[in-house]
Symmetry: C2
Subunit: 135 residues, 2 copies
């Protein structure tokens, strides 16, 4: 109930893999899928999403594939999560993800206040953690 999705997991594995290759190396989805035993189709979609958001560059055709489009030092784990899952995917408590006005229990419930701190902590850690540090 409190896990990163497979898609994020696969995305991180893929990006990390690319970061470990010499800069500019073209890596194929198939290669990654085989090496880490990931379902090709699903990984392919994740790659497409990462490419669409310019985190990786795509090359079509016979010797196509992907390369990292950013420095591993600048690429944050939080970036990868946000791209794959959409913004504010990491939102500990639902109440907080909507505007306070929309929350029926907002006036009486202050439970979120301490949890928002935890939220902040998680966000900070994810923002500070670069792909480089995973290599």
């Amino acid at each position: 109930m409190f896990q990163l999705s497979k898609r994020v997991e696969y995305g991180l594995i893929a990006v990390r893999h690319m970061a470990m290759c010499p800069a500019g190396t073209i890596v194929t989805t198939k290669e990654i899928a085989e090496k880490y035993h990931l379902p090709y189709e699903l990984l392919a979609k994740v790659m497409q999403k990462l490419a669409r958001e310019k985190f990786i560059s795509s090359y079509q055709g016979v010797h196509g594939g992907y390369t990292l489009a950013r420095n591993a030092e600048e690429l944050k784990v939080s970036d990868v999560i946000n791209v794959i899952e959409g913004k504010s995917a990491v939102t500990i408590i639902q109440c907080e993800s909507e505007s306070p006005q929309n929350c029926i229990i907002h006036t009486t419930c202050t439970i979120k206040n301490p949890l928002v701190k935890l939220q902040g902590t998680i966000n900070r850690v994810l923002n500070d953690l670069t792909i480089m540090e995973m290599v």
Copy 2:
């Protein structure tokens, strides 16, 4: 994708509510459900689970209900989560929840190492946060 479940949310709201009442006050599920606009049936189940694990004491019959069975200072948010969702509900990455031997990608994938740090951080925060601090 990275949220506390409603059940945990309801559980925290309930426990916090009880912590705010004078010690020994018997609180009914109905009362909490109405006050915070929570679905009675679902909340009732959460209460039962909390009672079964001795976090709260249950009293049946006409003037029955529940009271906190522990000090709010000693009751950790992590306790509530673990009781309601089962142990290791907060497990950032699946790979880590199983034994390394069972993980096919274990030998090649080291992605989890940095994420385990995050896991530790989250656990620490949840372990340190008491219900008392939510009141």
